[in-house]
Each structure stands twice: as C-alpha cells, then as structure tokens.
C-alpha cells in the first residue's frame, strides 16, 4: 500500500487511459494507411487522402453526437432515420424559400427536435433508450415515407452545395467542419463541467443523480445535441448529394455505432472520447476506400468490416488498464 501523503504514483498514471487508447487507434489507422500505400499506387495521394477525410467527415458528424449518447450509457438507433427526415424537410424549405440559411437552420432544428423527443422518452417516460429510439426510428421512417410519397427532391442552389462539395484553400469544406466539430466536441466532453457530468451519468446514473447532477436535463441535452448533429449531417448530405430521399441515412446507423465503438467508447457508458470516434470513423472509411481501390469483390465488404470491428474492440480491451 502506498503512502497516503503522496497520492500520485508512477508517471504512467499521468498519461490518461483515454489518450493511450486513442494512440493505439491512431496507430491502427496508420498501419492500414501503410498497408494501402504498399498495396495500391493510388492510395497515397493528396487527392485520395482528402477524399477519405471528406467521406469520414460525413460518418463523423453522425457518430460524434452519438458518442455523447453512448457516454451516458444510452444508444440512439434513430439517427439514420433522423438524418433522412431532417434532410427532406430542410430540402423542402430550401426549395420553397430559396434560402440555404433557412434550410440549414431547419435541418438542425428538425434533427434537434427529434433528438429532444428521444430525450423526453428516455427521461420523462423512462423507456430504455435502445427501445425508445428504435421505436422512433420507425415513426420517423413512416413520416418521411409519407412526406416524400416515394419521390426524391433534387437540384439545390450552387452556393448551398458548396457546403458539401466545395473547397477552401485546397481543403474540402466538410473537412473544416469536421475539424471545428471535433474541437467543439472534445472541448465539450473534456473541458466543461457538463462534459464531466455526462461521464458521471454514464458511469452510474443513480449516483450521479444523488450527487446533485440534474440527470434528466443533461440527458435531454445530450439527446438533443445528438439529434442536432444528425440534422447537421443531413445538411451536409443534402449539399453533397444534391438531393434528398426518404432512405438517405438509412444505411448509416450501424456504421455510426461501429465508428463509436471502434473509437473506444464503451456501450456501458462513462468511458470514451469524441476524438476516438473520429479515429473510428477514419478507420472504417479507410477500410472501405481500400477495398474500392483494391477492387475487392463487394461480397467481401461486410465480412471485412465485421472482422475490423471485432479486432478494433479487442485491441481496446487488451490495452485498457482501468477496470471496475
């Protein structure tokens, strides 16, 4: 047993677990990059790297909000459906008013409102988040299908589309957005009292409540933020694809969850980082990019992704020292 007058032990303790985790993940991403550089002659080019970053950014926007939800020990299965409905409503607003600003606000607003509804179900109605958001997923799909009536919406103003496909100083605009939100997310989670409270809630909601944290309000905030991020992602999708359709985000929910998990956030809450999620999104994108560059048969893609998810989390377990 150690002397209590010196609470700090070895220097290793100073490097936080989270940082070590993220380091391992960056290493994994780097290894994939190295492998692809050797295996293909087109991977290692500025164009392709920007390309990967831009694709990763789409996944990251959805996954970053989700990270907060997962940190509280919850899950949001409705994000994909939320992206779809936000995109469709925002698309209509842009078409009707011609104002991209209004459209952006609408998209984020709709997304945030959906997220808040999720939050209400989880906090006020006390429905487990997995079920509440699964229910929400279908309700949103239903509304979107009805609203779109099987049609798609396309052709948005060129200025608006810059958000998704434009460049600034040689870098795609989504990449700037990615950096901004990465910074905001990291600061929010690590450098604000709200962030600390969110970790505390995830680790033990009962104790958090009895410690004076307004748990319901923080959860509401987290679900709303997650929804708003889905709304933001829907705007980027809209601008990138130049069209809105009812199934726009459908295929994104599981990859987003996978990105969060590969990024080292624990499904039981209380452990993880937003930066880890970014690296998770990057790894997933790299794998898909690599398979395209290598012209891997499409049948193998889900299999490879599955293996990667398991390997990444296994690596996480191996390198995590902290235990309950």
């Amino acid at each position: 047993m150690t002397d209590i007058s010196k609470p700090i032990a070895s220097g290793r303790m100073l490097l936080s677990d989270e940082m070590i985790q993220v380091f391992y993940r960056l290493l994994a991403a780097f290894l994939i990059c190295a492998a692809l550089t050797i295996l293909t002659n087109s991977f290692f080019s500025l164009g392709n790297i920007l390309n990967v970053l831009r694709q990763a950014s789409l996944l990251f926007f959805i996954a970053s909000g989700l990270t907060l939800v997962v940190l509280t020990g919850g899950l949001d299965l409705s994000i994909g459906a939320n992206v779809a409905i936000s995109a469709c409503v925002a698309g209509t607003v842009i078409h009707q008013t011609g104002s991209p600003t209004l459209g952006v606000l609408t998209g984020i607003g709709v997304g945030g409102a959906v997220g808040m509804l999720n939050g209400v179900m989880v906090t006020a109605l006390r429905i487990p988040s997995f079920i509440a958001t699964y229910g929400m997923l279908w309700v949103l799909h239903g509304i979107t299908y009805w609203y779109m009536g099987g049609e798609t919406m396309h052709g948005f103003p060129a200025g608006f589309r810059q958000i998704g496909s434009g460049y600034f100083l040689g870098l795609p605009i989504p990449v700037y957005l990615l950096l901004v939100f990465l910074a905001i997310g990291t600061i929010f989670a690590q450098r604000t009292t709200w962030g600390q409270e969110i970790y505390a809630i995830g680790a033990n909601p009962v104790a958090a409540r009895l410690s004076g944290i307004p748990v319901a309000r923080r959860l509401l905030l987290v679900y709303t933020v997650s929804g708003a991020m889905a709304g933001l992602a829907s705007i980027i999708f809209l601008a990138r694809l130049n069209s809105a359709e009812a199934d726009i985000g459908e295929s994104l929910t599981l990859p987003a969850i996978a990105a969060v998990l590969i990024g080292g956030t624990s499904l039981f809450g209380g452990l993880g980082t937003v930066f880890g999620t970014f690296v998770g999104a990057l790894i997933l994108t790299l794998v898909l990019n690599g398979m395209n560059l290598l012209s891997v048969n499409a049948s193998w893609q889900p299999l490879v992704t599955g293996v990667i998810v398991i390997l990444a989390v296994w690596l996480d377990m191996k390198t995590r020292r902290r235990a309950a």
Binding site: T2, S10, T192, A203, G212, P214
Partner: protein, 512 residues
C-alpha cells in the same frame, strides 16, 4: 502478567493438534497495491478466529484468496496438515469452505430457495431439471435452522438488506461447511437478527466448525472471538487472545497509533438558527406525517429498527423520492425539487449503499471526489484538470484515503476508503447540511473516529448533520438529539440527556 501466561497455555493446548486449515506466506499484488504481503493464518475446529484491520488492510482479499476467488501470487494452503491447491471457488467448496461475503452474492430474480442452493440444486427425474419440492423443503429446513422465518419462494429483489444478509448466511450454512468465513456479517443486521446470528455461531462452534470472522465492531470482537489476527497494510501484525488485550491495544495494532474512540464532541451550548424544518412529510415509499427540525451546529440522530423508514425519510428530504404531502423548509426557503436543487441549496446525502448510489465505480477517485463540486469550483462551466486534481489531492490527504493515485478507479478501493470518497465529494461541494445514512457501515475504528471528528468539525463550523445509524451506541455518543422511527412515522424525540440505547429501543418497538 498471569493473564497472559494463562492464555499462552490455552494457545499451546489448541496447537497440540494440527490446525484444520492453514495459509502460509500468502502474497497478492494488484496493480499499484500490495494487498497481501507474506500473510500466514490458521484456524482450528470449533473456534472463532477474528480478523481485524483497517479499511484496505487486506482482510477481504485474504478471504477471497482462501475461497479461491483470487489466486495468490505466492504462498501455500494446508488442510489438516496436508498441502492443498485452491485455484477456484469449486476447489474451496470441496474442502468445505463457505463464505458469507461483504458484497452480496445473491441473484435478484431467483427466489430464496434457488439462491441458497445455487450450483447445488437437487436433481429432478429428467436429467438437468430441478426437484422443486426438495429444494423448497431443504430451503425451509436451512432457514428454520437459523431461526429465519420466511417463505423461500420470495424473490430476492423483494427483500431488504437485512433479509438478504440472512439469506446469505443460510446459503453458507446449507453447505455444511467445515470452515465458515463471515465478512462483516452484522453490518446490515438489526439487533434481533444479530442475536440470531450469534446463537447460530455458538451452535456451529459446538459442532466443531471453524469460523473466520471479520468485523469492525469491537464489542463483537471481544464477545465472539477465541483468537484475533490483526492485519495492517497487507501484513500480519500479530495474533493475540481476546483476554490478553484491550481494545485500545487492538486499535493501536491496526492503525499503528492510538485512536481516541470516545468520539469527543464540542456540543454546541446553544444551537443556532433552524436550518432544516420538515412538516408533515409523506412520500410514495410509505412514510407519513414526518415532522423534524435540524438546527445549525447540531448533529441529529434518526434511529429505529431496520425497515422503519429512516432511509425513506432522508431520501424524501433530499428529493430523491417524490414527496406526496408536507413541506420541507431549508434555511427558511421552501424546497420542492429533486436532488440537484438540494445540492445547490447546500444539502448533502451520503447514501446507504455506496456502490449503487454513491460512486461511479469505473471512474477515478479524483473524478468521484469532484463530481458534486463542479458547479462550485468551476462556476463558468469550464473544467480544468489541474485545479480539479488539486482539490482531489487535498481531500485524499484530509480524509486519509488509501489509494495509489487519484487516477485509480474508485471501484478498486477497499470498502472503507470508498465510503470516505463519498463523504469527500460533499466536503468539496461545501454543503451546509450533511445527511448521513449509515456513515460508518463497514468502516474501521480509526476511520470511524476520523469521520466523527470530521462531522464534529463541520457542525462546529456552522454546518449541521442528520445521521442514521443502526449502531445505537454511536447515536448516543455523537448526537445532540435523536428522532426514533417506527413503521414509517416518527415515534418520538429524545433530547441529549434522554439518549440511551434503552430509550431508543423502547420508542422504536412496534406497538399494537
């Protein structure tokens, strides 16, 4: 020194036969902590061997090694003089070792009978099935044998803490163990159940069962123990006879210095202004018409039997349970919100169950210490790691929390140190009214004295405290006044001069 000579003689008689079970040179290291350091320990049939030590001294760890839950890094086991291996709980069971754990090992959604015989279910006719009739009959038999009258088909989730502890005991007894380990078995029991347990221990002793008993209660140590082993910092300090030492001696061995256990208090001559006033409070959990007052500078006790609703009262005051009627005035202001409002106003609740309600076990000691104080320390909402660690260091030092680092996950601390962390977080938050629900449950004597000294300091500095304790002696020692509860109502109030165990019991009894 005749006393000592006598006891030495007694020891040599016992040691004529080989011990029933012996541990030699056990060491066990966890990352950053040497929990056990070359500890040897033995028990003879028919004796109660007390295991004493501060929180975190390694008592539970030693018992977990003994029952195969942990594997020792080095050392050996000897049964009836022969060397044996214990690498899993199953090995220990085969040797006839049963354990009553400090943390319950019961399954909430199985009934009492299924829990008692978990892993040892009587086989039914079809392979794999369970003979339901037999398991119920056997369970009734075991429960009867310990004098616990309850229907064995009730699910554990429906039981209170004391009842769960009794089931835990029944489970250990049912194994017909030769060696029975009890890790703080009375911490959750009321007097009635404690008496039942002691009678049971006497019977087992007569049957030649060897009992290893861990407790922080000095009275038990002397009344039950045949021999005492003291651990400190993972090392075996000494083995002594209860007749040969005083409790001060034991405390000195445990803590390494002397501790004043009379809990001296600077009783406030004139209590200050009213800090908390509760009028006619009822809540959905079954309490009704609670009236109580806590003044500045006071420590007010809340006592009663287990299940009398004390926890429910403080939960309702803190806002953890919704009040259905009545009024709570704090500092003259009406309080109606949840725990967050309570914390903001300056109330603090140190809950009954630290693991479930007090701590985020996977988070670090530092994170847990700071969690209630976030708003106070960082009013602008921006969190600063350096500042937060500084606050945490100060608390760790002030409360003498044994931890390798402020980054250690709090779940890895010993029980007593975890309790200190729960108290510490409210110190950091600068609370004005501290509500303690069994603050010393599972806490060693040294820490207990420290905690009482701390509470005394807090109230002397203008705070106030409301304290629940099942140890009536504690209430009598420490409190200015006490309310006694019975069946969800306040049965009466006792002033300082009326405070005695007798009076508390009298008021707390059920009246027809």
């Amino acid at each position: 020194m005749t006393q000592l000579a006598q006891s030495k003689a007694a020891v040599s008689i016992v040691q004529a036969a080989p011990p029933l079970f012996e541990l030699r040179g056990i060491s066990k290291e966890f990352p950053g902590v040497k929990a056990l350091d070359d500890v040897s320990f033995s028990v003879w049939p028919g004796e109660v061997h007390m295991l004493l030590g501060e929180n975190g001294a390694g008592k539970s760890s030693l018992m977990k090694v003994l029952c195969g839950a942990y594997r020792a890094d080095s050392g050996s086991f000897h049964y009836n003089g022969e060397k044996v291996e214990i690498t899993s709980p199953a090995d220990a069971q085969k040797l006839g070792i049963a354990v009553i754990f400090q943390e319950f090992s019961l399954v909430p959604y199985l009934d009492i009978a299924q829990n008692i015989f978990l892993g040892r279910e009587p086989a039914g006719r079809v392979p794999g099935t369970i003979d339901r009739k037999k398991i119920l009959a056997d369970a009734r038999h075991v429960l009867d044998s310990i004098g616990f009258d309850i229907d064995p088909t009730i699910r554990i989730e429906k039981l209170g803490v004391a009842q769960q502890q009794m089931v835990e005991i029944a489970k250990a007894i049912s194994q017909n163990a030769r060696i029975l380990v009890m890790d703080e078995p009375t911490a959750a029991l009321s007097d009635r159940e404690t008496e039942l347990l002691f009678a049971l221990i006497a019977r087992l002793k007569a049957d030649g069962v060897a009992i290893i008993y861990i407790s922080h209660r000095m009275a038990e140590v002397f009344s039950l123990g045949d021999r005492i082993t003291v651990l400190r910092d993972g090392r075996r300090i000494d083995e002594v006879q209860p007749g040969a030492v005083s409790s001060d001696d034991l405390v000195r061995m445990m803590v390494g210095r002397s501790v004043d256990m009379s809990y001296p208090r600077t009783f406030a001559q004139t209590p200050g202004k009213v800090m908390l006033e509760v009028k006619g409070l009822s809540s959905s959990s079954g309490i009704a018409g609670i009236d109580l007052v806590v003044r500045q500078g006071e420590i007010v006790g809340l006592c009663g039997l287990v299940g009398s609703g004390r926890t429910e009262v403080v939960r309702a005051i803190f806002g953890a349970d919704k009040a259905t009627a009545g009024q709570i005035l704090f500092d003259g202001q009406e309080k109606s919100g949840g725990p967050d409002e309570a914390a903001r106003l300056g109330l603090a609740l140190i809950p009954e169950s630290r693991k479930a309600e007090g701590l985020a076990l996977i988070r670090s000691v530092g994170d847990n210490l700071i969690v209630s104080a976030l708003r106070k320390i960082f009013p602008r909402g921006f969190f600063d790691q350096g500042k937060s660690r500084q606050v945490a260091y100060d608390l760790i030092r002030q409360l003498r929390i044994v931890t390798p680092s402020d980054k250690q996950a709090v779940g890895l601390l010993s029980g007593g140190n975890q309790q200190k962390v729960v108290i510490g977080k409210w110190l950091a938050a600068g609370a004005k009214l501290f509500i303690f629900d069994e603050p010393t449950r599972g806490i060693d004597v040294g820490a207990k004295a420290e905690i009482f000294a701390l509470i005394d300091r807090l109230v002397a500095d203008g705070a106030a405290a409301l304290m629940i304790s099942s140890e009536q002696a504690e209430i009598c020692h420490v409190c200015d006044r006490a309310y006694v509860m019975c069946d969800g109502r306040i049965a009466g109030e006792l002033a300082r001069h009326e405070l005695s165990e007798e009076n508390i019991v009298k008021l707390g009894m059920h009246h027809a």
